[in-house]
Symmetry: C2
Subunit: 240 residues, 2 copies
């Protein structure tokens, strides 16, 4: 039975980390809201009065009777099934840890344009966003990128992939977050990524994976836009 992905249509968002893994594995899946269900299908899932394991938020993945929400938990579940997880418990928890740290970076990026709250528009928190983005660009961006660089450097199987000697879901997630940073903060990310050559190589290696390359060239890949997590607001990328 094909997997079902429940996520907001029109944005990459956190759902994109799941899409990239499904696509790279060549898995059969339905992107429910985009395929035919629309946003109504998402609300039916989130408001399902019978669901034993109700998701708090999206993305959520359905595999038969199993529904899993939370990006890193979905990838923990999917990774071994898609052949995109390392072998062994300790290595799988290491991959989970890398994914969680990428998730923290995503959260901090979101906070640069929504520091006061997700319930308000960007326009209602713009001065605060400028202050938040300045701290992110000055301290946090390079700290995260450097940590990923260190993970690659110290991988005993070599610096080609983040966890072990083959492609895993965290490589796809690192690709996504770097692409997003380049979109949202072209100036600041350019300067940070000059100092992380292994990470830049990883991104190119992922981009050339045949299934990922085909996905990125397809209409299934939503373009970055200003409703998603990574938004190009030039005022948030300017030196303070």
């Amino acid at each position: 039975m094909p997997y079902k992905l429940y996520y907001w249509p029109g944005i990459q968002g956190r759902g994109e980390f799941v899409r990239l893994s499904l696509e790279q594995a060549g898995a059969e899946y339905t992107d429910v809201a985009r395929a035919r269900g629309g946003v109504g299908a998402l609300h039916r899932l989130l408001d399902d009065v019978d669901a034993e394991r109700l998701p708090f938020a999206l993305p959520a993945l359905q595999d038969g009777n199993v529904i899993v929400a939370q990006t890193s938990a979905i990838l923990l579940y999917l990774g071994p099934r898609l052949g995109l997880a390392p072998e062994g418990e300790v290595d799988r928890i290491w991959a989970n840890q890398i994914q969680l740290t990428i998730g923290d970076l995503v959260e901090e990026v979101h906070n640069t344009h929504h520091p006061i709250g997700t319930g308000l528009y960007y326009e209602d928190q713009q001065p605060e966003a400028r202050r938040a983005a300045e701290g992110f660009r000055r301290e946090r961006l390079l700290k995260f990128a450097s940590w990923l660089e260190t993970v690659l450097e110290r991988n005993r199987a070599g610096p080609a992939w983040l966890a072990g000697g083959t492609t895993t879901y965290v490589d796809l997630s690192a690709f996504q977050v770097v692409e997003g940073l380049r979109y949202a903060f072209p100036r600041a990310s350019g300067s940070a990524l000059e100092r992380t050559p292994l990470l830049v190589d990883l991104v190119e290696r992922v981009r050339r994976l045949p299934r990922t390359a085909a996905y990125l060239a397809s209409p299934r890949r939503i373009l970055f836009n200003e409703q998603g997590i990574f938004r190009r607001y030039p005022e948030l990328d300017e030196p303070g």
Copy 2:
């Protein structure tokens, strides 16, 4: 060999979710920075030039040669070892999902006093904090508490525990987050928790677990304070 917990001394913080599980299991562990190592031992771990799996941040747990960071990953690793995880992969991923959602709530609480950035003092982001806290109190607090209430209601093994029919680490985590909300937002949390009686019962059930009760009464339990995640700033609990 006893576990080693690496976390900042003087605050409960995210480390407390790990401490509660270790204590409830009666596990042997050293709280490294408080035992004898001081903050220097934490920096040596974070700056270790030989570590293959370098933590990005604390808490981190050491079990022999294995080092795991990220609260939810630590609990994913420890849960089965401490007898505090449900059986079976799907139930373990469900527990992980609950822990991640509690982690998101913790993150949003932190954001109420540090909306602009962790690199700045509270005093330098106080007006922004008031705005952020207002949105949290009005929309988010009850949304999270209600979700936990629903998880208890729909647990097929009964509403005594969150995941399955016995105590797991997510019950301890739910206890911690409710206690923290009561400390930081006595007014707003009081009003929200009136609508989640099962969650309130769960908190009392956890408080009475003999090992947890002994821990809470011991000097090992750090008190809530204004350096941690849950801070009692009365101005952030006032009606806007």
